[in-house]
């Protein structure tokens, strides 16, 4: 399923390269000159408060919004302004905030939706998702509405895996979940990364996110104010005060 | 007075009153089509009472009001707090059942209808003036009552219910009682209107009480503005009268024009022309003028 098993950050070409990206919708300037990279095999985290622009950034990269300036390169190809469905086909995907699960459809159908652009290996991929998340297999025929918050998060991640992505973007995975469940989710993300998936993750829960990431960026009102390795950010006094409650 | 003027005023008055009848339940998001069935039932009953049993008109009219009220009240036990969809369906159902019963009842003329109702007071001119005076009285009385309702605690409760039923319940508003009150009131008005509608033409026919009529009332309410009573008041005579000014070739497209207006308003300006904000700003201006005069 994974398309690149190289280790973190030493690979020559970045998987995702965002350069000077700005985006506005209507009067609101959501992103101001944002630059970031994600290398194959990395977990990169976006930290920021509510409204800092994390969701806008991920959705712009995905192709929901056209950039007003700047470039986005995925696997070396420019993808700014390309539609979301084309990007998903090239290996980029998003696990949206609020899970992005279709409540009226079954777990099985939700997973198959993820394979919409990649039906060739669907049985193999489905088998792997069920190996990762046995609870989903157990609830295969159930309507997604009947799943718990944590199970829905797993379903959303499983669905994204069905498209055999190279880069998985996850928007605020911990929202609305109990702390124990949040731990489980982060463990899963770490394990996926070890399998070779690159992950770009946005989180308000800065501590847990930084603990499992390689590098991070701090986003404030649409601009990157700080970047570095996870360790550096964990030690940074500004970050500690604003996001780690220390 | 010339006949066309009589018809214009009387029909416009009925349109205003029926729009108000539909406005009231819509204050809590109920499209109460049962009122059309009320019109038919009260109307035909009154017509039959006057024609076959020689009951005096004004008694028949009162019975019409009462019949509407009783029916509305009893049914509101079931749908006072029902979801909007259910209220619509119940209304439709009763319209069909009523029409079917009337169709199959020879005593009220079946599909042919009832014709040749006697003039009130035995005199056609007196009849027309009587109708107009009654309609005018209804407009004043019901208009006053609705206005008082809108500006009372109950009216605000209704607005809250319209926006969010659950929020309203949690604030202590009794949704069911509110629904029952509004539905019963609307059916009382509709009952009276049904009687008068037939007596304007001195006949009753199934074609008077169709979904066509529903469409006309919907247009008046939604284009005029469903959040205040003034929209219907203003728009009913305009919508009815303006097409009459045009040559018949254009006027016959009346219904299409209503439909287009209705759709346009729904898509572009859902609140209608006379919005609550507009009315409020006029009231503010009027009350400030009063303040200046009193100073």
């Amino acid at each position: 399923m994974a398309q690149n098993d190289k280790g973190p950050s030493s690979a020559p070409a970045p998987l995702l390269k965002v350069d000077g990206l700005s985006m506005s919708y209507g009067q609101i300037r959501a992103l101001k000159d944002v630059s970031l990279v994600v290398h194959p095999g990395e977990i990169v985290v976006l930290i920021g408060a509510n409204g800092a622009g994390k969701t806008s950034l991920l959705e712009t990269i995905l192709g929901i919004f056209p950039p007003t300036s700047g470039t986005i390169e995925f696997k070396g190809e420019p993808v700014g302004g390309v539609s979301a469905d084309r990007n998903v086909r090239s290996g980029l995907c998003l696990v949206p905030e609020g899970r992005g699960v279709f409540a009226s459809m079954s777990v099985h159908d939700n997973l198959l939706l993820g394979a919409h652009h990649n039906m060739k290996n669907v049985d193999k991929n489905l088998r792997r998702v069920f190996d990762w998340f046995p609870i989903l297999e157990k609830r295969k025929k159930q309507i997604a509405r009947t799943l718990s918050g944590g199970e829905r998060q797993m379903l959303a991640i499983g669905r994204s895996l069905m498209s055999a992505p190279s880069l998985i973007m996850v928007d605020e995975p911990s929202i609305g979940l109990a702390p124990i469940v949040v731990n489980d989710i982060f463990t899963i993300l770490k394990k996926l990364n070890q399998e070779g998936y690159a992950i770009l993750l946005s989180e308000q829960n800065a501590y847990k996110a930084l603990k499992c990431a390689h590098r991070g960026y701090v986003l404030e009102t649409g601009a990157v104010t700080l970047s570095g390795t996870a360790e550096q950010l964990l030690q940074d006094p500004g970050v500690r005060e604003a996001y780690l409650g220390v | 007075m010339p006949l066309p003027v009589y018809y214009f005023i009387s029909i416009s008055a009925i349109n205003i009153l029926m729009s108000w009848a539909l406005y009231l339940p819509y204050r809590v998001a109920h499209l109460h089509f049962l009122t059309i069935a009320n019109m038919a039932i009260s109307g035909y009953t009154a017509g039959w009472l006057v024609m076959s049993l020689h009951v005096p008109f004004w008694i028949a009219l009162l019975i019409g009001f009462a019949l509407g009220g009783v029916m509305g009240f009893l049914i509101s036990f079931l749908i006072g707090d029902a979801p909007t969809f259910a209220v619509v369906i119940v209304g439709f159902t009763f319209i069909y059942i009523t029409r079917t019963v009337i169709e199959n009842t020879k005593a009220v003329g079946g599909t042919l209808g009832m014709f040749g109702l006697p003039s009130i007071g035995g005199n056609p001119v007196f009849h027309r003036w009587a109708i107009l005076i009654i309609l005018f009285a209804m407009l004043v009385i019901f208009g006053f009552l609705i206005h008082r309702f809108d500006h009372s605690r109950l009216g605000r409760a209704a607005s809250t219910t319209f926006m969010d039923k659950d929020l309203a319940s949690s604030l202590g508003i009794d949704i069911k009682k509110m629904g029952m009150l509004l539905q019963t009131a609307s059916c009382i008005i509709a009952g009276g209107c049904g009687v008068l509608y037939g007596f304007i033409f001195k006949s009753f026919h199934l074609d008077f009480f169709t979904f066509h009529l529903v469409g006309i009332f919907m247009t008046i309410i939604f284009v005029g503005g469903y959040s205040t009573m003034w929209g219907s008041l203003l728009l009913a005579p305009i919508l009815y009268g303006v097409p009459l000014l045009f040559p018949p070739a254009i006027a016959s497209w009346r219904i299409v024009i209503y439909g287009v207006l209705l759709i346009t308003v729904l898509v572009l300006k859902p609140e209608g022309f006379i919005t609550r904000k507009f009315v409020h700003s006029i009231e503010t201006v009027l009350s400030s003028k009063r303040k200046i005069r009193n100073m």
Partner: protein, 294 residues
């Protein structure tokens, strides 16, 4: 016994009309997330367009079908954005506005038909379409080719669409987009392409339904749409909104029930049955006998 069988056959025929129309309605709901209460009027409009096309080109059923399908697709494409704009109300579906919009569309169609086509007189498909030949007769019982076609196509359509929607990739995409267009975009589903396919599909069914109705009735009038629209509404509520299989069963059952009442009870009581049942269902089991499948 003959009367009974004859009425059952009539009922099946009536039922297949209900099936065709309620399936179109359900499809629009499942595929385009539109609650189009005046869909039957759109179908009647397509019948008229087919009539015009066949009359003025002298062409046969094929021209009629093409014209009807084209008309239905155009109406879908035109009405869909209106419904989508009007239906949203703070995350919930605004049934009232949708209903009123449907009434508006129905009003316009019915009135345009009474003005501009044949001076408001009913149109006849005599000589343009076959479907009235009796292919089987036994005393009072007679079976017309149009009736067989309508029922056959109705059942095939329901089965086909059921398989499409619930067992195929395209069907999953339709349902996902209908439930949550924004979520579907985020998952990478092609929205525009799928929506257009949805309108085409439902337009196809609408056009085919129009021709079948023309074959069955042999004529059409401006008021036909409204008469049938309310019955179709009743069928969809009794069955459960969006329930394809339910629509099939209830449509047939209602058709047969109405025909039997028509045959055995004097007077025009058959029209009310649907509404009485609908009333009972809505008060006792609001989600319909087979459940809502939204």
């Amino acid at each position: 016994m003959q009367v009974f069988l004859a009425q059952v056959l009539n009922g099946l025929s009536l039922g297949s009309i209900y099936i065709l129309l309620v399936t179109g309605f359900n499809l629009l709901l499942l595929v385009a997330m539109i609650i189009h209460f005046s869909y039957p009027q759109v179908v009647v409009f397509s019948m008229y367009i087919a009539w015009v096309a066949m009359k003025y080109t002298g062409g046969g059923p094929v021209i009629g079908v093409l014209a009807a399908v084209g008309a239905a697709i155009l109406m879908n494409v035109f009405c869909a954005p209106l419904f989508q704009k009007v239906m949203k109300k703070r995350g919930e579906v605004d049934i009232n506005s949708t209903m009123v919009l449907s009434m508006g569309i129905g009003m316009i169609i019915t009135d345009v038909l009474s003005h501009s086509f044949n001076n408001g007189f009913p149109i006849s498909f005599e000589g343009l379409l076959s479907g009235h030949e009796t292919i089987f007769r036994l005393g009072l019982i007679s079976l017309q080719s149009g009736q067989v076609a309508a029922l056959g196509i109705g059942i095939v359509a329901v089965s086909g669409f059921f398989v499409l929607l619930y067992k195929t990739r395209a069907g999953r995409a339709f349902r996902a987009i209908a439930e949550d267009p924004n979520g579907a975009k985020l998952v990478g589903l092609p929205i525009l392409r799928t929506s257009l396919a949805g309108y085409a599909l439902t337009g196809l069914l609408g056009g085919v339904s129009a021709i079948l109705l023309a074959m069955l009735f042999g004529s059409a009038s401006p008021g036909l749409g409204e008469q049938v629209a309310h019955k179709v509404l009743a069928v969809s509520i009794i069955a459960g909104l969006g329930n394809l299989v339910g629509g099939l069963v209830v449509g047939l059952a209602l058709g047969v029930l109405e025909a039997l009442v028509q045959g055995y009870v004097s007077g025009s009581w058959s029209n009310s049955i649907a509404f009485v049942i609908m009333l009972v269902v809505i008060l006792i089991r609001p989600k319909g006998l087979f459940g809502i499948k939204l």
